[in-house]
């Protein structure tokens, strides 16, 4: 998978893609001293990697006027709506997808 990921920036260092499509991941809680972009409602919840979107400059660095390089893998993570919203009344098959950078995720072995 990682070999096919497009690289948007010319940097010597390439951050490896850590998660593969179908892998279960958990959104980490407040792990950032800076510009955390994970929506509050998905933190601590588990979902499945739907796709690897590519590598993009780190928004936590861009937010302070830096280059954001090396770029970090970005994933589209698929959550069950009922996982995020316990009182969700619609179909249990409903999903929500959120794009989340690699450093805001951790493997879910549970």
């Amino acid at each position: 998978m990682s070999a096919t990921v497009p690289i948007r920036n010319q940097v010597s260092e390439t951050v490896p893609v850590r998660y593969q499509v179908g892998e279960r991941v958990r959104v980490r809680h407040a792990v950032s001293g800076g510009h955390l972009r994970t929506p509050h409602y998905c933190r601590g919840h588990t979902g499945v990697i739907e796709r690897v979107c590519g590598r993009f400059p780190n928004p936590e660095e861009l937010a302070f006027g830096h280059s954001g390089l090396p770029s970090l893998p970005l994933y589209r993570v698929r959550f069950r709506s009922r996982e995020l919203w316990p009182d969700y009344q619609e179909s249990e098959n409903d999903m929500i997808e959120i794009e989340i950078f690699q450093h805001w995720l951790e493997a879910d072995h549970g």
């Binding site: 510009h35 509050h40 928004p59 861009l62 937010a63 006027g65």
Partner: protein
């Protein structure tokens, strides 16, 4: 207050490029949302899942000054503007950076109208980068009072 800030930044833009402000902005329309914000790791922008009351789905036409707020922000992302004030090849604004400064407004984030928020974030960003000093901005705001 925001209008004075707006005028002072418009003047700054006139210095870095060709933009001139044409007419006075109309009164802002601040809207405050009720409710507590207990989690220190939740930004004021991060509202997903919170009770927000009825949602106004009507068209939100931007005032002329609000459009100009965003135009200024966009132009400051052009590195050619930086060169005009001796900051060659430096974009003076960035999307993630302007979001950070807006979100760091804290309670003011929700107290300010959309365009006002953008101007306050922009002022903080220019001060942070050493492009303008707070005193310079304040002096120009006073001049428009």
């Amino acid at each position: 207050m925001t209008h004075h800030l707006y005028f002072s930044l418009i003047e700054f833009m006139a210095q870095t490029g060709k933009d001139q402000q044409s007419k006075a902005p109309s009164a802002p329309n601040p809207s405050l949302l009720p409710g507590q914000w207990p989690d220190p790791y939740r930004g004021p922008h991060d509202m997903g899942g919170l009770a927000a009351g009825p949602v106004d789905t009507g068209d939100h036409a931007l005032e002329e000054w609000e459009k100009r707020c965003w135009a200024i922000n966009g132009l400051l992302r052009d590195p050619a503007r930086g060169a005009a004030i001796g900051r060659a090849n430096e974009a003076l604004s960035g999307l993630d950076e302007s979001r950070r400064h807006a979100e760091e407004l804290g309670d003011r984030y929700r107290a300010l109208a959309y365009g006002e928020r953008a101007m306050h974030a922009l002022a903080r960003m220019l001060i942070n980068r050493g492009v303008l000093t707070a005193d310079e901005i304040t002096a120009r705001m006073e001049a428009h009072r």
